[in-house]
């Protein structure tokens, strides 16, 4: 397998996920399969191909600098686990 369980650990930590050993093994297998699948592309000769960031034939889609009404705060905060003083309340993140 290309992806080892330790690498799954690292990726999980970046995404703040806690995984069981069983899940780690499963994701290691899944991620490896995805990479192996994508690796087939390297069979093609791409020396003369510009890197592609987007496949749509679109560019420069902009809007004018105009203010429109924002959401009602009560609606915005309705999904918040905890609210205080009109703010989202989260566990303290600095010492």
């Amino acid at each position: 397998m290309r992806i080892k369980p330790e690498e799954v650990d690292y990726i999980a930590a970046l995404s703040r996920l806690v995984l069981s050993d069983q899940e780690k093994n499963m994701y290691a297998r899944h991620l490896s399969e995805i990479l192996e699948h994508a690796e087939r592309l390297s069979e093609l000769d791409t020396d003369d191909v510009e890197p592609t960031a987007h496949v749509l034939p679109l560019k420069n889609v902009f809007r004018d600098d105009q203010v429109k009404p924002s959401l009602e705060r009560d609606i915005l905060l309705s999904n918040a686990p905890e609210v205080e003083n009109g703010c989202f309340k989260v566990p303290r993140i600095v010492e």
Partner: protein, 475 residues
């Protein structure tokens, strides 16, 4: 061993658009928390961001003013990290194809002019604001700022002292103000600066590991933090102490930098092209029209102030360091012709009063015409220069017209010989010992007697006339 300090800066400037980078929420500062938010800037599933045309224009303008090349093809990328100030868990930024590359800013140093290279200027969105104080084991999050357009200006490590970095920051702020793309209000977080600093042996045989300092919210704090780190790095290099690449926080209250926990710097941003935004391909004519419409920049205005107004280099440098100050000066010059006198007032009392009150030149509380009036009252002898300083303090405190202050407080200078002679005789009578000292050859006693006469007239005596009459009376 000769040691060199290397400093590179990353400066974030909020662009002065009305609405956010990818949605139509207001960017206005100081609103009630979480009232300038919508599904786009708070990262709800299924929403589609759309870039603000004005923000692109401002970023191009900044790039051109900083002598950068503007990319004809540019794209936005996702920078992924988990932090509560980032509602989407990614920031839309630019990675490998920034909008502007390869510019420079010229600064003045002790050893003459120096060019600081700009590596890149890219666009991104701001994060929300975290409130840590007073909430115990919690932090509060206000997302009003999330999605406000920013440019990030990245320099090469070309600055060799905190003073040079300070000069660069001042110059950069001036340029951004001149081109009116950012209000540059540091106290509102419109301009923030990250520092990368280390020390290296001149022969490049050894170097310390780079320290990063994030989000220094005033230039003064940035320079102090750099001075502290410069010393720490130089000592480590000279002592041969091992150093590690780390992020340190500036503790303003204690004037030290503190290493942040390594947990907070597990950075692996996993950049990838933002799938919701199509590329930006600006045509040459668009870039050309922005270039042609760039206003006069600080360096050009500096040269003009010297040639047009005959100001010394020093004066021109200080006045043009702030657009507001330079504008104020030029407004004065439309109604008055002695440039040096106006310059002296602005560089002296006006800047002193602003500094003492922690204010910017944009906060001068009275119009240029009032300053010119004050100068004219001195020119025509209505008030003495020392009274003018008092009138100035009053003008600065209340924004009042100097004519009204002079009239209300009866500050008109006493230039009437008869009135002054009366005062002088009283002083001579009441200060016999000093008069005797003066007559015995102690010329210093004259100053004391002048002071007494000033005290009696509450500072209003015409000083030249007072001196002349007093000397005459004593002899």
């Amino acid at each position: 061993m000769e040691v060199q300090t290397l400093i590179g800066l990353e400066v974030h400037a909020e662009l002065a658009t009305e609405s956010k980078m990818f949605c139509s929420c207001s960017t206005e500062f100081g609103a009630e928390p979480n009232t300038h938010c919508c599904p786009i800037c708070t990262g709800m599933p299924g929403v589609l961001p759309m870039p603000n045309k004005k923000a692109i224009e401002y970023a191009v303008k900044a790039g051109l003013a900083l002598n950068c090349d503007i990319s004809e093809f540019s794209k936005m990328d996702r920078k992924n990290y988990y932090y509560p100030d980032l509602p989407k868990a990614y920031q839309i930024s630019q990675y490998d194809l920034p909008l502007c590359t390869g510019g420079y800013v010229d600064i003045e140093t002790e050893d003459g002019p120096k060019r600081i290279r700009i590596r890149r200027v890219h666009m991104e969105e701001d994060a929300g604001k975290l409130l840590h104080e007073g909430w115990g084991n919690n932090s509060l999050v206000d997302y009003n700022r999330a999605g406000v357009p920013l440019i990030e200006i990245v320099t090469e490590p070309d600055m060799n002292s905190p003073a040079e970095a300070g000069a660069f920051l001042d110059k950069l702020k001036a340029i951004l103000q001149y081109i009116e793309v950012s209000d540059c209000k540091m106290e509102e977080g419109s301009l923030r600066c990250d520092v990368n600093i280390n020390a290296r042996a001149d022969d490049k045989s050894m170097a310390t590991a780079i320290t990063e300092m994030k989000n220094l919210n005033s230039f003064k704090a940035a320079v102090k933090a750099m001075e502290y780190e410069e010393k720490r790095h130089r000592e480590a290099l000279l002592e041969g102490d091992p150093t590690v690449h780390e992020t340190r926080r500036w503790d303003d209250a204690r004037s030290v930098t503190v290493a942040m926990r390594s947990k907070e710097e597990a950075h692996d941003y996993r950049y990838f092209p933002e799938p919701d935004l199509v590329p930006i391909a600006l045509d040459k004519s668009y870039i050309k029209s922005i270039r042609e419409n760039l206003p006069e920049l600080p360096d050009q205005r500096y040269q003009r102030f010297i040639s047009q107004y005959g100001l010394p280099q020093y004066d021109a440098g200080i006045l043009t360091s702030s657009k507001y100050l330079a504008d104020y000066f030029e407004q004065c010059m439309t109604i008055y012709d002695n440039a040096k006198t106006v310059s002296n007032w602005l560089m002296g009392d006006v800047l002193r009063a602003l500094n003492e009150n922690g204010k910017d030149p944009s906060d001068i509380p009275f119009p240029p015409a009032y300053l010119v009036d004050l100068i004219k009252y001195v020119d025509d002898g209505t008030i003495s220069i020392s009274i003018a300083k008092k009138v100035f303090d009053e003008m600065f405190a209340n924004g009042t017209d100097p004519g009204a202050i002079i009239k209300e407080q009866g500050l008109v200078q006493i230039s009437d010989e008869g009135e002054l002679l009366g005062v002088i005789r009283q002083v001579i009578q009441e200060n016999a010992p000093s008069v005797a000292d003066y007559k015995a050859g102690k010329k210093k006693a004259l100053g004391y007697l002048v002071g007494q006469a000033m005290k009696l007239t509450k500072g209003k005596a015409n000083p030249q006339l007072l001196n002349k009459l007093l000397e005459r009376e004593l002899n």
